[in-house]
């Protein structure tokens, strides 16, 4: 396309330049970018921890580190990735940036609360970081009692407080989203005209608001128990460590859906755009998000099949866990049905979306193995579980996060990334990911427990393969970091609607003005209506046409 160098336009990025204008901004778009920078830092830290212990796992015997160090590294990986990267990833970055744009409003309902959420989250993150700097935590991200509350010889209190505080950031974001979706939709934008991204975030916010306080009190109890040496979960006083597990998983299982539903929202947007079709069964896909959110609260016991839970409770939890597969499968089937007969274009975001569908399906189906009580006993706490949740969390949510980041990158930054390197990166990540985690299904099925770095020699081949894969995966992320950073400075200027996508966010210039829209949007059409002429409108055309 010709660079016709349009006159300089004021947008949210160049409206003000001072550091203070970023640190005290009330603009949801800038806050989204603050979150982006913060969580990518945690992603890097968590990734480095993973690479370090993957190197150790190349040999069956301890080589570079002792068990102590190994325990601290995998705990650091788990805590940073889950609490400080995955949970805020899509909601706090893309959700923050896009929610008001998709709803056709100027900002979230509570801009100051939004900024406060970033500070609270960052403060919690710093405490978590502090716990690492002062020697780390060795309990695993699950903080199981009584080890964490009584015996662990590490910075449990600091890490627990970090998670406790960061949780409030999540809750603030969740409340903000629900209120904004209820009260601030543009005229004509009815519930069933909302993009599925919004539905997914609505469902996610419900889980955040109802679930996070429970982990907050649980983890606070652990910290109080350690700090004042009182017994809450201490068996010596008749306390029940399994009660901790109930309370912990009451949040942490729904948290899995906090970590996947927003990803599903992103995938719906990308699939529709790159197949040029309305999402098949829009309403059912929308409602399936809510179904996942609700059912997700009643399945926590499947983490505890072997923790002295009664057999009957186990059976109920097993059946309920199977039920979650229904709305999840509805989504996968409807995405594939959308692809069917669509005019498919394999641009970078679409590669991530297709990767998501495949990997999430593997992750979801192996979840059914784990929800069956008998198989669960065999593979409980093995690498099979590790592989399963990485297929959902990394193969699902991380793929969706980067897919979404690429999809809306031109909107957020006003620049295009290199499409060629984008595709190379996406394929490298896909290959690296499978190479890393598929062998772990086998190694786990053969009986290797998670969280050990000393293992029988026959597992070495698969472990080395996994480490090799993680190097490829890391390379893919580095390539991505390279071309995305490059695009910030030298990328081609983006027009308002480079993908020719439907959605209010594409009707405003890239990057959007501080007030989001120059004229107040009015919606009199359904979501993903790719038959509409206006969809294909882009401000680059107008420049050329004029």
């Amino acid at each position: 396309m010709n660079d016709t160098s349009p006159p300089k336009r004021t947008h949210y990025l160049n409206a003000q330049h001072t550091v203070g204008s970023w640190l005290f901004t009330l603009d949801h778009k800038r806050i989204g970018l603050l979150y982006l920078a913060t969580i990518l830092l945690f992603f890097l830290l968590g990734g480095i921890a993973a690479m370090l212990f993957r190197v150790e796992l190349m040999t069956p015997d301890p080589t570079y580190m002792e068990s102590e160090t190994y325990n601290r590294l995998f705990t650091m990986h788990g805590i940073t990735m889950i609490f400080f990267f995955l949970i805020p990833s899509i909601p706090a970055v893309l959700g923050n940036f896009l929610l008001p744009l998709m709803l056709g409003t100027k900002d979230l309902a509570f801009p100051r609360l939004n900024l406060a959420s970033w500070y609270v989250f960052t403060f919690g993150g710093l405490l978590g970081l502090g716990s690492i700097i002062f020697g780390g935590v060795d309990t695993g991200w699950t903080f199981y009692t009584p080890y964490s509350s009584t015996y662990a010889n590490s910075n449990v209190i600091l890490a627990a407080l970090g998670i406790f505080i960061a949780g409030f950031g999540s809750i603030m974001t969740g409340i903000n989203f629900i209120v904004t979706i209820h009260k601030m939709r543009a005229p004509g934008l009815t519930w069933f005209r909302l993009p599925l991204f919004i539905w997914a975030h609505y469902a996610t916010s419900i889980i955040i608001v109802l679930g996070t306080p429970v982990i907050a009190i649980t983890i606070l109890l652990v910290a109080i128990e350690r700090l004042f040496q009182i017994g809450i979960f201490d068996p010596a006083l008749g306390g029940d460590p399994v009660l901790f597990q109930h309370l912990f998983w009451f949040y942490s299982h729904p948290a899995v859906y906090i970590m996947i539903l927003p990803g599903m929202g992103v995938i719906s947007e990308i699939i529709a755009c790159f197949s040029r079709k309305r999402i098949f069964g829009y309403k059912v896909v929308a409602l399936s998000s809510l179904a996942i959110a609700i059912l997700g609260f009643f399945v926590w016991g499947h983490h505890m099949f072997v923790s002295s839970q009664s057999m009957y409770a186990g059976m109920i939890f097993s059946i309920l866990s199977f039920l979650v597969a229904i709305p999840s499968a509805i989504k996968v089937f409807n995405w594939t049905a959308t692809l069917y007969g669509g005019a498919i274009k394999l641009d970078t975001p679409m590669l991530y979306a297709l990767g998501f569908i495949g990997l999430f399906t593997v992750g979801g189906l192996t979840g059914l193995f784990l929800a069956s009580m008998a198989i669960n006993v065999h593979v409980h706490d093995t690498y099979f579980v590790v592989a399963h949740f990485h297929y959902v969390m990394v193969g699902g949510m991380v793929m969706a996060f980067f897919g979404g980041l690429h999809f809306w990158w031109p909107k957020m930054t006003g620049r295009h990334f290199s499409e060629l390197f984008g595709r190379i990166g996406a394929v490298t990540i896909f290959i690296g990911f499978n190479l890393t985690f598929f062998p772990q299904f086998i190694v786990g099925y053969l009986g290797m427990p998670r969280r050990y770095h000393v293992y029988p020699e026959e597992f070495q081949f698969l472990q080395v393969m996994s480490t090799g894969g993680s190097a490829v995966l890391a390379l893919g992320y580095l390539v991505m970091a390279g071309y995305l950073l490059h695009s910030l400075v030298l990328g081609k200027k983006a027009s308002s609607n480079p993908w020719r996508a439907v959605g209010l966010e594409w009707t405003t210039p890239s990057p959007p003005p501080t007030e989001n829209f120059t004229t107040e949007p009015y919606v009199d059409y359904e979501a993903y209506d790719y038959t509409r002429e206006e969809v294909y409108r882009d401000d680059a055309d107008e420049v050329k046409g004029a």
């Binding site: 509570f110 409340i175 209120v179 601030m184 009190i217 109890l221 009182i230």
Partner: protein
């Protein structure tokens, strides 16, 4: 930023005062839902142990001062009344009323916290503070609860300590919420003194009111749960 040509209380991203007011209300109710889950986790944990160790919990509960607990319940209910009157004064645009009733609420809240302090001190002096300093010798002859040295479960003293752990954590978190509430009311008084409220705009008073009633309700559950366990 865009200049405000409408009511000075209307934030630029809202279209109308109604929209702004409804958003605040919904946000506050969601926050309270979140609070319910927060205390809910605590109540569930308490209920599990209460069900598991009924005798020890009943005995431990009998060491709490029923008189102070009942007195505090009355104090807190009165503070909810004064809070409701403060909101009413807000609706009427009655600045002096707002300040008067908020001060009354703060006074009642302070009385509550003072009594709580007295109770905590008593427990501390009796060696009932959970942790390494916990000291308790069962005196089975004195109990009104049907439990004897023979029928008592093996870890009776440990279970009693468990009760006091919950007593302090639950009432402590409740007290912390009250302290936050007092802080909010001081902020409201400062705003009222600066004439920030009017008949059209008193949302912060209303929201603080909701919060205060919630804190009150938590106590309404706490009181029977921890004080009345041993009376059937």
């Amino acid at each position: 930023m865009a200049a405000d040509q409408h009511s000075p209380h209307l934030a630029h991203h809202f279209d109308s005062m109604e929209q702004q007011q409804e958003s605040s209300s919904l946000g506050m109710w969601l926050f309270l839902a979140q609070e319910v889950m927060f205390f809910g986790g605590l109540f569930v944990a308490y209920a599990v142990y209460r069900f598991k160790y009924p005798e020890a919990f009943a005995v431990a509960s009998s060491h709490l001062s029923l008189g102070w607990g009942a007195f505090n319940t009355v104090v807190l209910i009165c503070s909810s009344l004064t809070m409701a009157l403060a909101v009413r004064a807000g609706q009427l645009g009655d600045k002096r009323g707002i300040i008067r009733y908020l001060l009354a609420t703060i006074f009642l809240a302070s009385v509550f916290l003072g009594v709580k302090g007295v109770e905590y001190t008593e427990k501390y002096n009796d060696g009932l503070m959970p942790g390494p300093a916990f000291e308790y010798t069962p005196d089975f002859d004195r109990y009104t609860v049907p439990v004897t040295a023979e029928t008592a479960p093996p870890n009776f003293v440990g279970n009693v300590q468990l009760f006091f752990s919950f007593y302090f954590v639950m009432t402590g978190l409740h007290a912390l919420h009250m302290v936050i509430g007092i802080g909010l009311m001081i902020w409201l008084i400062v705003k009222a003194l600066r004439d920030r409220f009017s008949k059209e705009y008193f949302t912060p008073i209303e929201m603080t009111g909701l919060y205060w009633h919630f804190v009150d309700i938590v106590w309404i559950f706490l009181f029977p749960l921890v004080y009345l366990v041993w009376r059937h």
